[in-house]
């Protein structure tokens, strides 16, 4: 019944210097992707966003659930030019912010793509986010650009990509 081992490591990257973006573009042949980021900041805090397939249109929307140690809250945005991966768990100097993206059914051509993520920074907050990308069509995701807003990914930021193949 089982089709065999999956959850395959695809790539691993450690930023050798400050980066304005990180591009993932070689992940064909899987059903889902799991992308694990450990984001470092120098002195200025930043948030992490993403775009799919180079799409810079207002085709992204997201809903966020999180807590900052005092209260739980929720916020959302429609028709954005990028998806969002942090809100309560900003990336700051010191402890990294850990982000885990679940890019569901990214290769299918019949649905818009919905991405779940969890982001955590122990001294700031924790959150869950659902992102929707409505590209020009229901095309498969072939590239993802991770973009910090407010500062750069600092040296030592890591990104690990895993592929999951359904039977």
């Amino acid at each position: 019944m089982a089709a065999g081992a999956t959850y395959t490591p695809i790539s691993s990257y450690t930023a050798p210097s400050s980066q304005t973006s990180i591009t993932l573009n070689s992940f064909t042949g899987y059903t889902d992707l799991e992308i694990v980021l450990s984001c470092n900041a120098a002195s200025t805090a930043y948030h992490v966003f993403f775009q799919c397939n180079g799409d810079t249109g207002t085709t992204y929307s997201y809903t966020i659930l999180g807590g900052d140690g005092t209260t739980a809250g929720s916020t959302r945005a429609s028709s954005q030019t990028s998806g969002r991966l942090t809100y309560y768990a900003a990336v700051r100097s010191g402890s990294p912010t850990i982000i885990r993206m679940k890019v569901m059914n990214y290769a299918n051509s019949t649905t818009y793509k919905t991405i779940l993520s969890r982001s955590d920074r122990a001294s700031d907050g924790t959150e869950a986010i659902v992102n929707l990308w409505r590209g020009a069509s229901t095309a498969a995701i072939t590239s993802i650009v991770l973009q910090p807003s407010g500062a750069n990914f600092d040296t030592g930021t890591t990104v690990n990509v895993f592929g999951i193949t359904a039977a």
Partner: protein
């Protein structure tokens, strides 16, 4: 090849995470998605779902029942708790019923081609000494409204190993192009 700021493929290695079975819902939808005779060779199960309901609403909860010994349990009480954000407020709640709601998806009046997603973990499903506990991260966004939820559930009718799982809507069918992928995680 790795370029500055660009990650390229580096190949793969074997893992203890295995694909067991996948259901892709065909034309016309289906009343239920069943996984039966689930192997007991794993410590945990994970189910990754992309789903839409045919219910005449913008969204719908997909319910789960489980079974032991090859029989789906349709009568025992299951518990579920959730923490949910709808873009405005965070709320928490719970329900008890003969099913547990771990998946929140889009439905028939939502924009076409927008599906909800969920990742469910069924922990220690093959244990014969523990009640069974589940958890999920689930959500949808419809570009104007959305929900994201952290949910948990339990099955306490007995401590037998689970080998049957059913997903269904209380109001309608599971729509075409929905997919349910079952994975096993070895200890």
């Amino acid at each position: 090849m790795i370029l500055p700021g660009v990650i390229a493929s580096s190949g793969g290695v074997a893992s203890s995470y295995e694909s067991i079975a996948t259901v892709l819902v065909g034309s016309g939808g289906t009343a239920a998605v069943d996984f039966t005779s689930i192997s007991q060779a794993y410590a945990h199960l994970q189910i990754r779902i992309t789903c839409r309901s045919t219910s005449a609403a913008t969204n719908d909860g997909i319910l789960m029942r489980v079974g032991t010994g090859g029989t789906l349990d349709t009568t025992s009480t299951m518990w579920g708790h959730y923490l949910m954000g709808d873009g405005a407020t965070a709320t928490a709640g719970y329900r008890s019923s003969t099913n547990v709601e771990l998946v929140e998806v889009t439905a028939a009046t939502a924009t076409a081609s927008i599906f909800g997603v969920a990742v469910i973990d069924l922990l220690n499903y093959s244990s014969t000494t523990k009640n069974k506990t589940f958890r999920s991260l689930t959500g949808f966004d419809r570009n104007g409204a959305g929900e994201v939820r952290l949910m948990s559930g339990s099955y306490t009718a007995n401590t037998s190993a689970l080998n049957t799982i059913r997903f269904y809507s209380a109001f309608a069918n599971i729509a075409e192009f929905s997919s349910f992928a079952l994975y096993g995680v070895k200890a």
